[in-house]
Assembly symmetry: C2
Amino acid sequence: MYVQIRAETTRRFLLEAAATLFDEKGYAGTSISDISAHSGRTSGAIYFHYASKEKLALAIVEEHFATWPHLISRYRQPGLPALERLVGLSFEVARAFRDDIVVRAGARLWAERKAIDAQLPAPFLGWIEAVTQLLEEAARNGELAADVPPAATAHGIVCSFFGLHTVSDALEGRRHIEERLRDLWTLLLRGLQAEPDPAALLARVR
Amino acid sequence: MYVQIRAETTRRFLLEAAATLFDEKGYAGTSISDISAHSGRTSGAIYFHYASKEKLALAIVEEHFATWPHLISRYRQPGLPALERLVGLSFEVARAFRDDIVVRAGARLWAERKAIDAQLPAPFLGWIEAVTQLLEEAARNGELAADVPPAATAHGIVCSFFGLHTVSDALEGRRHIEERLRDLWTLLLRGLQAEPDPAALLARVR
């Protein structure tokens, strides 16, 4: 039991050390010896926990993807209006992309997926599904403008959000991601809300 | 003169052969010998025209970026309403991303830029500037809703468009990019137009 907990802690420690390097230097730019030097553990110790660099990268991408269902389920709880929960969720995800090293590294490794010899999880579909459900709920509650089709709109929202991250990462290291996200929602909510008032909704969220 | 034209033709031939491989296998997955095998030219001939794999990748990315100013200047001509020109431009770019091998390869190499030891051009800024100008023109002509700020909105539009390409590439090899773009504009135009009627505008474009 104690050994198992210790092994879990070591695995997590190595995962975060590797994530720091993958985030900074990418998959091709990071070797197991770099991770060994950065973490202070031997290469043998790393291979004991993760059989290969591919497996380590895969574990980080899986951990990245595992972040979302838990977060989404919190925002599925009724209470606040569905559109407010959707916007609030997007800000929480944006902060995770900016601040959480495993999320950041997972995103970079996923973008470099064609260079990694491992089957990575399919992205975006879970998000499109979650956003569709929130928009359907918003439609049932009269928050959504009448002629907004939830599934096609959810696809557009997920694309916009993902593009925002890529552009913000490339141009400004994600420093202004929250202001940019606010501007994006100002644009999107004008077309989404039954009674458009993006500023009022955004003032209630975050 | 003849020699110069022939050299230009060979450079272009090699550029397209390399683009085909970079698009398919990425930067790390493609070697000069692969390009030699694919093009039927010797590695020496390739090095004669491009001093290194980095230089070849850089030439493709520069060629990709050079595609846009010419295209944008055509859509700057007055005539059709500015919002229609903006939407029309986006469809033309989407088709280039789907069908033009140098544009495709340039986009992939740009996404893998951290693995390439060369200074690549800064992306997005030219697009944000071009879209801002079209929105300003739309505002002057009364096509744009009153409280839409052109620069922040242009940023959101460029992000949405770029995200659409990434998602469409990952999920469906860009096969349905034109339908997806139509859905995205349906969402965006609802908030942009002074008198929202996305379906009518989209019917006039393409």
